[in-house]
């Protein structure tokens, strides 16, 4: 089973902080709880508990270029780690959130997908800790999509799953 090294996790959090510089102080505390994630040794022992099958599904997305037999971008280990960290952050925000369906994207990302009745939301996580692509569909074919920073993407998923 893939593990996350504490040092890498911390680095991810630092990257995340850097990407939300414009978030107001009032919004920060819940995100800052990431600092409470602890570690023992080199293995992942965060306070969030991601099921083994979800971790495995995320890392199973790792693919070489052209994996779709056409022109797909590679899905790198970094993309998988990036998706795992996104999910960890999400679980800190909302520990009881439903686990997503996980898939590899031909665009070189890992996609996490949720459905609630007739509502759908997916976020496409790229390897760099930059913007996340989201796409949603509500009843009456109301569709939305675009890029946003991780913090806003996390809030979007949390709000969707409430």
């Amino acid at each position: 089973m893939p593990t996350i090294e504490y040092r890498q996790t911390v680095a991810a959090h630092l990257d995340l902080r850097g990407s939300i510089g414009y978030v107001t102080e009032a919004e920060r505390p819940s995100l800052w709880r990431l600092d409470t994630i602890s570690a023992v040794g080199n293995s992942a022992t965060s306070s969030v508990d991601i099921p083994v099958e979800i971790r495995e599904a995320i890392f199973a997305c790792q693919r070489e270029e052209g994996w779709d037999l056409e022109e797909a971008n590679a899905v790198t280990e970094e993309a998988c780690r990036s998706a795992l960290r996104f999910l960890e952050t999400l679980l800190v925000e909302k520990p009881d959130i439903a686990m997503p369906r996980v898939s590899a994207s031909v665009l070189g990302a890992v996609t996490l997908e949720w459905r609630t009745g007739d509502r759908h939301l997916a976020v496409r996580i790229f390897p760099d800790f930059g913007p996340v692509f989201y796409i949603s569909e509500e009843p009456q074919d109301i569709r939305a999509q675009g890029y946003e920073d991780r913090y806003r993407a996390i809030r979007r998923v949390v709000n969707f799953c409430v």
Binding site: G66, R101, H120
Partner: protein, 145 residues
């Protein structure tokens, strides 16, 4: 004479490994690198012909060997999703026209949905994954077109 797609027809789409599970196709199954979304028309090609087409690609030979077959791709985790053709127009999307204004390529059944990657959830909820038996038998009781 330009060929039109009968709304009672069906469309096949290749689904890559990780993009399907026991519940069906995931949304990434309906996203391409380009804006238009590629399908094959079920009245023109069989499921295994679609798989064999991809098996003949250089990428398939490179990854799975020179003699790779459509069945090998199935065993490697590739699948086909099937979608009623009318779903496309019902959702307000259109087929990209060929040079002769046909809605599909009569030679290989290839169909492109203009900007189809913008509605993956719509395709997903109207699609299902073909079973292994359906793949081999060619399955579908297509209506008389």
């Amino acid at each position: 004479m330009p060929q039109k797609i009968d709304p009672r027809d069906f469309l096949y789409r290749k689904v890559n490994p990780t993009q399907w599970d026991a519940f069906g196709a995931k949304i990434e199954a309906f996203v391409d690198k380009y804006d238009d979304l590629s399908f094959r028309l079920a009245s023109i090609v069989s499921p295994m012909q679609v798989m064999d087409f991809f098996a003949s690609s250089p990428a398939a030979k490179k990854q799975y060997g020179e003699n790779v077959t459509g069945k090998d791709l199935y065993d490697a985790g590739f699948r086909l999703a099937i979608l009623p053709a009318h779903v496309i127009t019902d959702a307000g999307f259109a087929f990209k026209l060929e040079k002769d204004d046909s809605e599909y390529n009569p030679a290989n059944g290839h169909v492109n949905i203009i900007d189809g990657k913008n509605a993956p959830f719509t395709w997903q909820k109207n699609a299902r994954i073909l079973t292994e038996e359906e793949m081999q038998k060619g399955v579908l009781q297509l209506p008389d077109l």
